[in-house]
Symmetry: C2
C-alpha cells in the first residue's frame, strides 16, 4: 500500500471509491456503537460485586477505629481506614488525605468553587480578582476544562509532549503572572493521550515559584493504579518533592476508586498539605456533616484498606487489554500503511489518542457517527472545544464488549481513511 500523501489524484479517487463502498456497507447495518466515554464495562463492574454484598451486621464492623459509627453523622474527613486506602493508591500519607463522596470531579469542582467565593488560604476570593487564568495542558480532560470555563476562568492552552506539559511555558506563566491560579494535570496515563509525566517534569512542577500565593496544581491522579500491562509505571511523588522544594502547599491531588470499584459508587479523596486541608474544611464543615462512611467502610473491607487494589487492577487490565489491542491492531493494519494518522500505545489509563492529518478530525467523527459509532466530540480535549489543528480524536475502548470494539475500530479506520482521502483530494 502506498502512503496516501504519495498517491496521485487517480489513486486517491480509486481509494475513495473503495472506502465509500466499505463505509456504506457498515451504514446499512444500522449499528449503535460507542467509543465516546471512559466508562468501565459491565464485566469490570462485576469484579467488585462482593464489595456490594459484604455483610455489615456486626457491631465491630460498623464502629470505626476512631470510635465513630459509620452509619451516623460525623467524620467529615472520612474514616481513618479509607484515608489509608486512598493514600495507598497515590503513595501519600493517610493524614494528607480527606475523603469526599463518590466523585473526585465533584471535589475538583468544589475546590474551584470554594476558591471563587472564599479564596484559598486567606487570599482574595477568585471572583473578586480580575482576569484570573488556568493553564490547560491540551489535549486534556474535557471535564476539567468545563469546570474552569463554567466559572469564567480564562484558559491558556499548554502543548503536551510525551514527557508532559511544555514546562518552559508553564514556568514562564506560573512564575511571572500572578493572575495564573492553577493548572490541570493528569500526570499518569494522561487523559486522553496516555502519556506519563517524566520525572523531570514532576520535579519542575514541584519547584515552581508561583507569582500568585493562591496558585495551585490540580493534580488529578485519576489513573494512578490503572495499568494495562504487568509493567508498572511510576512517577515521582509530587507531594514529597514539593515539600522538599519549600512548596508544601502547591498541590491539590485527587484520586478515586471510580474505575477501581464502581464508576457511580466509588469513593474519592483529596491529598494535600494540612494547611490546604484545614482551609478546605472551613467551608466543607458548613457544606455537610459527613460523607457516606458506609460506602467508605465497604471499600476498606473489600480492598483490605488498599492492599488488595493492585491484584484487583490486574483483573481490570485483563478485560481492558484486549479491547485496547483490538483498536491498536486495527490502526496498525489499516492506518499505518496509509500514513493517515498517528498514535501512541498507552500502558495504562482509559484512552487512545488518534492524531489525524490536519483538518480531518471533525469529519472523521461525523462519518463515524453517521455509521453508528459515537466518538468523543471533535475538539473536546481542548479548552473551549477548539482543536487548533482539527486533528485530535479520543478513543475510549473500555465500555463496548470485545466484538463491538473490534467492529467499531474497523469502522473507525474506514472513516479516518475516507476523511483523509477527501481532504487530500480537496487540497
Amino acid at each position: 500500500m502506498k502512503q496516501y500523501q504519495e498517491m496521485t489524484k487517480e489513486e486517491l479517487l480509486q481509494e475513495k471509491e473503495s472506502l465509500e463502498a466499505a463505509y456504506k456497507a457498515y451504514q446499512k447495518r444500522d449499528l449503535r456503537l460507542n467509543m465516546a466515554r471512559g466508562k468501565p464495562s459491565t464485566e469490570q463492574l462485576d469484579l467488585a460485586m462482593d464489595l456490594l454484598n459484604n455483610v455489615l451486621d456486626e457491631r465491630d464492623i460498623i464502629i470505626m477505629s476512631n470510635g465513630l459509627d459509620a452509619r451516623n453523622y460525623g467524620g467529615l474527613e472520612g474514616i481513618p481506614e479509607a484515608k489509608t486506602l486512598i493514600a495507598s493508591m497515590v503513595d501519600a500519607k493517610p493524614e494528607q488525605v480527606i475523603l469526599y463522596g463518590n466523585s473526585s470531579l465533584n471535589m475538583m469542582y468544589d475546590t474551584v468553587a470554594r476558591a471563587m467565593t472564599h479564596g484559598i488560604c486567606g487570599n482574595t476570593p477568585w471572583m473578586k480578582q480580575e482576569n484570573i487564568k488556568f493553564l490547560c495542558p491540551a489535549p486534556g480532560y474535557d471535564r476539567h476544562f468545563a469546570i474552569t470555563e463554567h466559572f469564567g476562568i480564562e484558559m491558556i492552552t499548554i502543548p503536551m509532549s510525551e514527557d508532559g506539559p511544555d514546562m518552559d511555558m508553564v514556568e514562564q506563566y506560573v512564575n511571572n503572572d500572578p493572575t495564573v491560579k492553577g493548572i490541570w494535570c493528569v500526570p499518569k496515563f494522561s487523559n486522553p493521550q496516555g502519556y506519563v509525566y517524566s520525572a523531570k517534569t514532576v520535579e519542575r512542577f514541584a519547584n515552581l515559584h508561583p507569582a500568585a500565593d493562591d496558585f495551585r496544581i490540580f493534580w488529578d491522579n485519576a489513573y494512578c493504579v490503572h495499568y494495562l500491562y504487568d509493567e508498572e509505571v511510576t512517577i515521582p511523588n509530587i507531594m514529597e518533592l514539593a515539600e522538599k522544594a519549600g512548596n508544601p502547599d502547591i498541590v491539590f491531588e485527587f484520586a478515586s476508586t471510580s474505575k477501581v470499584s464502581f464508576a457511580g459508587g466509588g469513593i474519592a479523596g483529596m491529598v494535600s498539605s494540612r494547611k490546604n486541608i484545614d482551609d478546605a474544611l472551613v467551608s466543607m464543615s458548613i457544606q455537610t456533616i459527613s460523607h457516606d462512611k458506609i460506602n467508605q467502610l465497604r471499600h476498606c473491607m473489600f480492598f483490605e484498606n488498599g492492599k488488595r487494589i493492585p491484584e484487583h487492577m490486574k483483573k481490570h487490565a485483563a478485560i481492558l487489554r484486549p479491547k485496547f489491542e483490538a483498536v491498536l491492531n486495527a490502526l496498525d493494519r489499516d492506518i499505518a500503511p496509509t500514513g493517515a494518522g498517528s498514535w501512541v500505545k498507552p500502558l495504562g489509563g482509559y484512552f487512545i489518542t488518534f492524531e489525524t492529518l490536519e483538518g480531518c478530525a471533525a469529519r472523521t467523527i461525523q462519518l463515524a457517527k453517521d455509521a453508528g459509532v459515537v466518538m468523543t466530540g471533535a475538539g473536546a480535549p481542548f479548552p473551549y472545544h477548539k482543536d487548533p489543528k482539527d486533528s485530535c480524536i479520543r478513543i475510549a475502548p473500555s465500555f463496548p464488549n470485545l466484538e463491538e470494539i473490534t467492529l467499531a475500530a474497523d469502522i473507525f479506520t474506514v472513516c479516518v481513511r475516507l476523511a483523509t482521502v477527501e481532504k487530500l483530494l480537496s487540497a
Copy 2:
C-alpha cells in the same frame, strides 16, 4: 411549691442552697452526657440494617427502570425509583425531584453557592449584587444560618410563633426589598421548636410577590415523616399552592432519609419546578457525572420506593417517644411548679425548645456543661449566634439511651432552676 418569681429573697436563698447541693452531687458523678445534636441513636440505626445487607447480585436488580446500570456513570438526576421515594415523603411528583448524595445540607449549601457564582435562572450572580439578605425565622436551624453567614449574606431575624414565621414581616421584606433573596424554613416540626406552620402561613408563603426575581424559599422539609405519635400532622403542599398562585419557581424544597435510614448514609433530594431544576443541572452537570445510585437503589429496595417509610417511622417513634417524654416529664415535674421557663410539647421532629426566663440560657448551658451534660451552644438557633433574650435552649433527646436522657433531664432542670434563682437574686 411557690413560683420563683413570687419567692422572697430568703426563700430564694434557701432554694439556691438546696439546688447547689443537688448540683454538686451530680458534678461528683463525673458524667458524660450529650443532648446537643439531633443524631439518631444506635438503636434507631439498627432498624435499617437490612438495607445495608440486601443482596444486589442479580442483574435485574442492578439495572434501573431506565436501563441504567446503578454501578456505572450516568443518571445525574438520580434513579427513577429514588425520585418516587423522595416524592412520596413530601407529597411531590417524581418529576419534580432530583437526587443528590447523602446530605440535604450539601444540596442547600450548593444551591446557595451556585446562586453566588452563577445566579438563579439567568439573574445576576449574588456575589455580583450588593448587600443581599436572607430572612431567618428564629429560633431556627444553626446550620442554615451558618451557610448564609459563610457566604456573607446578611441575615434578618424573623420572629417565630406556633403558626410559623411572622408572615406580616416576611411579606413586608420579600414583597418590597429586592435585596432579600431567600428565607430558611423548616415548615414541619421546626428545628428547634417543633412548630408546624399553619395552613394560612403556607398559603401566604405560596402567595408572596417577591421584589426580586431570584428570591427563593428554602423549604427544608427535614422532618416531613418524623412523627412522635400516631397522630399524623400535615401541612399544605407548598409546591401546588405556589403553582396555583402563579409562583411556580419560588420554592426549593429539601428532604432526606438521614433520620429515616442512616444519618451518615442516607439519600437526599431536592424538589422544585422544572425550570429551577434545569437551571441547577447546568452547574451540577459540570460538578459531577452522577451521585451514588447504588445507595439510592438500596433505599428503594428496602423502603419499596417509599411505601414502607410510614411503617418504618413508627419504629423510630417508638424509640424516640419515651426519650422525649422523659425530658417533658422532668420539665413538668421540676420546672412547671417553679415557673422557671416554658416549652411546647412537640408532635414530631428531633427537638424540644426550652425557654428560660430572660438572661438565663447561657448560664444554664454552662452549668449543665460543668456537670457533664453537653447542650447545643447558647445562641446557636439564632443568626450570628445572638439570642436577643438569652433564653432559648435546644434540647436534643434522640442520641443518649433512655436511662442517660432521664438522668440528663434531671440534671438539666436543676441547672435551669439554679440559673433562674441566681438571676432573680442578682436582680
